[in-house]
């Protein structure tokens, strides 16, 4: 194929369709999972990444706020 339908992600080229067909066959043979099962597994991974990051970011923000409050109360004259 005389167009950049590439097999490996380097600067976001597109996957080569022929190579992908080969890889997909290998995935099917190796895992034996149905299409919907693979979609669900990969979907969970895709959703889990941003959700995890957001949870940690919220915890971090709360931690910073509580540290700030603690510092404020230390500064206050008793």
């Amino acid at each position: 194929m005389a167009a950049p339908l590439a097999p490996v992600a380097h600067h976001s080229e597109s996957v080569d369709p022929t190579l992908w067909k080969w890889i997909q066959h290998q995935i099917d043979v190796t895992t034996g999972l149905s299409a919907i099962t693979i979609v669900i597994i990969l979907g969970i991974i895709i959703v889990a990444i941003p959700v995890t990051v957001i949870i940690f970011a919220i915890r971090s923000k709360k931690h910073a706020q509580s540290m700030g409050r603690a510092a404020e109360s230390d500064d206050r004259p008793h």
Binding site: A9, D16, L19, V39, K62
Partner: protein
């Protein structure tokens, strides 16, 4: 585990920025990478030739390369946050719009122009400057995580799209991918992405937050002698040419393999299964390799690692020439895999170290453009070589020689003289030396 949560809660905010950019690269590269999965289906549905469908991919490649200096320049002017968010939105909408494409010409417009153009706004020319603003001591590691995001995105999203296609249809697959971008990626960027630490009252590397735990101590010199305010000035010094030339070779050697690998494998009677597993291996090593190299680049000279990476890839190319095809396949997957993406964080980090962060977006965009031009030329050249000689060997030899040259060029960069990493307090700003 509790300790891990505690550490994560007190982590420097820059790591959350990296996490957001990681996911941006993850979906951005993954969505674009999945295009090839749909080619056969579109061929049948649109009654279009593969060549016409491939025009969208080729055009997309050029658009992506051409848009990067533009978005990089906007990042230098307005910061990474608005540019990345405003590029991400049309890219996500473009993903959904793909579901409503009814012929190859619409495909060329939506994918070749819209998605590919705006994908230039979420790549290294915009993400790289943001990383460089947030990190100095761990710049290489942070850049490598960003690069790995793209690699892992290809690993996850391409099969995701393919199995959505099998389970439902291509329209559903594209709607889901567009929704993933807009519903998951956009909120992450909106809430977490900040252009620079000063926007949150922080300092680079988080020095302000934990002053008692500084290792190394905060640098007093943050710019090198070649730090510039105008991107044009970079071309009057050697490192910009050295980095660009080496990156052209990176484009030559990755794009050529990307496009011609299948034809080479078929010509060598390599079984489809073996080729598929070898490339799976390359992808896995690729992601691990880039993070390892990024981490190491914060401990030692980046130009040394960059040179080594090009030389390692030269050995991978040499394996095509001197080893039997069945062994060369595995040698290339293992040796080449480690070096495949490692050039990206090293080149961007080194550019930031030498020229500073003020014009890094434009410089990264220009260097990436050089990469894409080199890649496009090489794809064509490899095809011509195969047609004329009926073998890829002369082209592989050409790739080997250019990689040796890239290795030498990279090693000749005077990093200790020009990089801000090696400046000491009191060092004076030097003027670029002609021909140095």
């Amino acid at each position: 585990m509790t300790n891990f949560f505690r550490k994560a809660s007190t982590a420097y905010y820059g790591w959350y920025v990296i996490a957001a950019l990681f996911f941006t690269a993850f979906v951005g590269v993954g969505v674009r990478g999945s295009y090839g999965v749909f080619v056969k289906t579109w061929e049948d549905d649109f009654g279009a030739s593969v060549t016409l469908i491939s025009v969208a991919a080729s055009l997309g490649w050029l658009m992506n390369g051409a848009s990067q200096p533009l978005f990089g320049n906007l990042t230098d002017k307005y910061g990474g946050r608005p540019v990345i968010i405003l590029s991400f939105i049309p890219m996500g909408l473009g993903g959904i719009a793909m579901a409503f494409v009814t012929n190859a010409y619409m495909l060329i417009f939506v994918y070749g122009f819209v998605i590919s153009f705006f994908s230039g706004g979420i790549m290294f020319s915009t993400g790289g400057p943001v990383v460089a603003q947030w990190f100095r001591a761990k710049r290489g590691t942070a850049m490598s995580i960003l690069a790995a995001g793209g690699s892992i995105g290809g690993l996850i999203l391409v099969p995701f799209a393919a199995y959505l296609l099998i389970q439902y249809n291509w329209q559903t697959a594209w709607v889901v991918m567009g929704v993933v971008m807009l519903a998951l990626g956009l909120p992450l960027l909106f809430f977490l992405l900040k252009s620079k630490p000063e926007d949150m009252g922080l300092k680079q590397d988080g020095y302000e937050r934990t002053p008692e735990a500084l290792d190394p101590p905060p640098p007093e010199v943050t710019t090198g002698p070649l730090a510039i305010d105008r991107w044009q000035d970079s071309y009057s010094s050697a490192p910009m040419w050295q980095l660009s030339l080496a990156y052209v070779v990176c484009g030559i050697t990755t794009a050529s393999i990307s496009v011609h690998f299948v034809r080479w494998a078929v010509e060598q009677d390599i079984s489809a299964g073996k080729a598929a597993i070898a490339f799976g291996l390359l992808m896995g090593i690729n992601a691990v390799g880039v993070i390892t190299i990024g981490f190491l680049s914060d401990k030692m000279e980046r130009k040394t690692l960059l040179g080594i990476v090009y030389l390692i890839r030269a050995v991978a190319f040499l394996s095509f020439l001197v080893l039997p095809a069945n062994i060369a396949l595995w040698a290339f997957a293992i040796i080449g895999g480690g070096s495949w993406l490692a050039t990206v964080p090293l080149t961007t980090s080194l550019t930031a170290d030498v020229y500073g962060v003020k014009t890094l977006g434009t410089l990264s965009g220009l260097i990436n453009l050089a990469h894409q031009i080199g890649g496009a030329a090489a794809v064509l050249a490899f095809g011509i070589v195969f047609d004329v000689f009926d073998t890829y060997n002369p082209a592989f030899f050409g790739g080997f020689v250019t990689l040796l040259a890239a290795g030498v060029i990279s090693l000749s960069i005077k990093e200790r003289k020009y990089s801000s990493r090696y400046m000491k307090p009191g060092d004076t700003i030097l003027q670029p030396v002609e021909g140095d």
